[in-house]
Symmetry: D3
Amino acid sequence: MSIAIYPGSFDPITNGHLDIIERGSKIFDELIVAVLQNPSKKYLFTMEERIEMIKDAVKHLPNVEVDYFNGLLVDFARKRNAKIVIKGLRAVSDFEYELQMALMNKKLYKDLETVFIMTSTKYSFLSSSIVREVASFGGCVKDLVPPVVEEKLRQKFALKN
Amino acid sequence: MSIAIYPGSFDPITNGHLDIIERGSKIFDELIVAVLQNPSKKYLFTMEERIEMIKDAVKHLPNVEVDYFNGLLVDFARKRNAKIVIKGLRAVSDFEYELQMALMNKKLYKDLETVFIMTSTKYSFLSSSIVREVASFGGCVKDLVPPVVEEKLRQKFALKN
Amino acid sequence: MSIAIYPGSFDPITNGHLDIIERGSKIFDELIVAVLQNPSKKYLFTMEERIEMIKDAVKHLPNVEVDYFNGLLVDFARKRNAKIVIKGLRAVSDFEYELQMALMNKKLYKDLETVFIMTSTKYSFLSSSIVREVASFGGCVKDLVPPVVEEKLRQKFALKN
Amino acid sequence: MSIAIYPGSFDPITNGHLDIIERGSKIFDELIVAVLQNPSKKYLFTMEERIEMIKDAVKHLPNVEVDYFNGLLVDFARKRNAKIVIKGLRAVSDFEYELQMALMNKKLYKDLETVFIMTSTKYSFLSSSIVREVASFGGCVKDLVPPVVEEKLRQKFALKN
Amino acid sequence: MSIAIYPGSFDPITNGHLDIIERGSKIFDELIVAVLQNPSKKYLFTMEERIEMIKDAVKHLPNVEVDYFNGLLVDFARKRNAKIVIKGLRAVSDFEYELQMALMNKKLYKDLETVFIMTSTKYSFLSSSIVREVASFGGCVKDLVPPVVEEKLRQKFALKN
Amino acid sequence: MSIAIYPGSFDPITNGHLDIIERGSKIFDELIVAVLQNPSKKYLFTMEERIEMIKDAVKHLPNVEVDYFNGLLVDFARKRNAKIVIKGLRAVSDFEYELQMALMNKKLYKDLETVFIMTSTKYSFLSSSIVREVASFGGCVKDLVPPVVEEKLRQKFALKN
């Protein structure tokens, strides 16, 4: 059985992430969305909020599970018995950073393969940070994030609709 | 009448910016240099100083105006009735970031077009941050910035000449 | 009055080209689609066919004209009294080639500015050569090219629909 | 059951290709190496030779099959009932071309996903064309290709060892 | 006599740095490893620790010297009478940043040439920041850094072996 | 004594090549400009013409020699007892191709180092092929090539001045 991990900060989950999750869930038997808690990083949403929003957004996908980790991805992969990491690629700068991470992870855990899926062109401009920025200035983020995230952002900021 | 906006932090304006402004002012009927005030960012120069330096540098260009905004560029464009944003491209990394911003802005404001002009090769290495760094160590920034900016930097730091 | 040239081989025109033409026609007073005839290159369609297909595709745009040239773009621009060249950018490799051409053209004709517009993400994968290849194997090119081009390709190859 | 296609010219197969095949065969239940015959391209080896060399190189991998196609990859994928295409990525230029192909293929066959694996760094410089060039000048290609390919190249050219 | 400077933060020195130093020391008569102290940056290791680790790692290379600087690289180069700067390139993003720095440095000191060496593919994923991150989570950094650095990191963090 | 090779087709030599030669001749004790004759490639100028033009352009540089080779660069380097190859970098696409060649050459000849110098920004758009194209249409190539090359191109084509 093929188990794949889709790691990220998901602060918050966007429609671009969701697109990768839906497509990945068709390729692999089981997909674990793994939310990273990096102690030296500041988040807009707490770990609990980020997990809750993802769970709501993926509830139609029976073979997708949501988990979290802090520390090294390779340790989490070993613990969860997963040998595949899935990542979305949008642009050349993504590509180089992700290549570096994939090589480092393979160095630390020889059996771990990273596979890449191209993000849908309609989400190629989308990132959590751009969503946070637009929402912080009251811009409309409908079409960019799942409804539950739009609602949560509305509570944090004053959003147009 | 074509009205174009040239947005940026301009902390401080460089000869690379000025090159884009001069060329943009020949292409469009009116060019608005729009200085961004991002509350979460620290600047070397105050908004007033940045505006004053730009006004001095563009005073020979009758169809160029200097304004400022905080918040979303698309809201400023709507307010100023402008449908064109102009950006300078120096390198591949610029290109990807600017592409992302252009797509996001088009998503938020369908009629807004971003047009790109290649920065002159002689300014391809130039940025406000590299100017600030060189000046902070007392390096010579003549040829890199308009005279008024060199003078202002001299007041902030001890500059060679 | 701002006159812009949009040069290319257009062998054949695609919906990606048409998107740039429509957006360019809103930015500039007049847009000249300039079809290149390079004697050392082989085309699928003759110059006459390429011009005819473009004319049909842009007939709803009153300020767009179709012309052709062989030789240097700068000579054509001088002849047509145009000081702006418009190009679509899809990817990093486009960017570098177009930058090189823009700099060379500016070297040969100091007053000529090249402005770039980002291709719509939904056409970011599209090129005339990929259309020719798909059509040559009988693939469906609807949504990729204007109807008149689809019909013309159907006559050249056996197309599915 | 997940069936993946690994398409290419394989003129000839290199150790870089073999690395992708071995890793892909661990991720998916079945992997079809699909040799492309493009009528408008000249090959060093015939289709039969290319298939024979791949079969020899992958004989230790029970879930890998070798097949061929001419025409569109999407038609081959439909025929073989495969919904996954696997590609190796070495560099940024690969990335952009492969992204374009992946998007086009998805346009032509909505259910077809392209997944990318990073080529091992030790093969990042390797391509069939560089192998052909080195061999044509009598350079040593051991370590770059499987033994059977080295032998075949030796027969075509005068190789050092 | 050719004197080259290899500048960097070296926080800490990695096997990738060491590879560049060893190869650079064969090309030039004298190589000065120049450790940068940027007052506005936070380091994991003090200047003394960074210098000590480099000195230990390069002790087998008679024409390599370790020095430090704060301020502009061009001022340090003038002081040390060096006209060559050596840099390692791993990726496209390195390339653009380093190109910008090389052009700026040439602008500030006309006789200063920057030469680039490609990092060995086996170290292409390696950086000081990734070493610090892995070590901070207790990951194994053997093979990534010289033994003296591994030991030092062990003292700072709890490392697996 | 450091001997460096600067290989290329030089069809014809441009001011960009000359810039690299002049700067390389200051870094290394001896610089060999090595003109490649690839039997499968068509050139505008014969080997004799290309060598003659380079010799004229570098006659002010006492430590620069002009030679030619066909076959592998590594065999030529061994024959000439050179352990350094010098290449100019203009753009990201150069970078990737040159990286691939440098790694392949190092694979074939372990002691051979490739060092890269950034091309002057004022020549960043310049290539032999763009010079041939401009000259073939009668464009002015003064400032782009040494005078001897301009004269030779004038004889081949009808050049403006």
